[in-house]
Symmetry: C3
Subunit: 100 residues, 3 copies
């Protein structure tokens, strides 16, 4: 009845939200939440991008899906956009439906 | 000074928020946060319920409380409502006050 | 390419947000998100402080930074303000930039 899954969290500029949601869905994410957040980025290249509204996208997926999502984020977005992504292990009630 | 607790997260339709908060409080939750989120559910029966505004309810509780909350959510809401719930272990500063 | 970091989460009254952000930055936090949440505190002394708008501040930091942040929160704010803080371990894509 409970399944260990990887909560994959992505914080990014609002403008990227639709593309990131499409990306996670292509990898098999079957559900997500989107939260409006304010953020301020790491001191460095693109701190200014983080002022104002950003979004936090969270999805519960299998470990291999989480890894595939991070790999594509890394290749496509990390050079040119303000994107932060992290994984954490969670225990999900009736989580089998998130296994795609 | 620090206590390991279970962060219990419940994402559901806004209409259920009051009932879910009452449920967690009955089980001994002494504090929670409520965040407005947008969500899209798992492909399947109730995806449409997830469009629009949902809420994320988070509470820090002892492990047995977390388990009791999930059991009641499972019995009362998982068949008929759009509810997602997961647990994760966290280290809480002065967490003893959450032990009820 | 991936770094284990400590996600440090602080929930507090909106009025304290700027001071808490300054505090985490003094300890080396190089980025954070701020989310508006509603909260209700532990039954006890300051439950009333938790009605209405609160903020959740999240930052990804090294373990020693997380510990230093919690120590200062404990010393400065826990007696007199409604503050909740917890730590959880996360795996961060390109997390080395958060190491300060």
């Amino acid at each position: 009845m409970r399944v260990t899954l990887i909560k994959t969290t992505i914080v990014t500029e609002s403008l990227l939200a639709d593309k990131i949601v499409a990306l996670i869905q292509r990898h098999g994410s079957t559900g997500h939440t989107l939260t409006k957040v304010e953020g301020q980025g790491s001191r460095g290249v693109r701190a200014s991008d983080w002022e104002g509204r950003n979004v936090k996208i969270e999805t519960l997926v299998a470990e291999e899906t989480a890894n595939a999502i991070l790999d594509e984020l890394n290749e496509k977005y990390f050079e040119d956009y303000a994107v932060i992504a992290w994984l954490s292990e969670v225990t999900v009630l009736r989580g089998e439906k998130f296994l795609g």
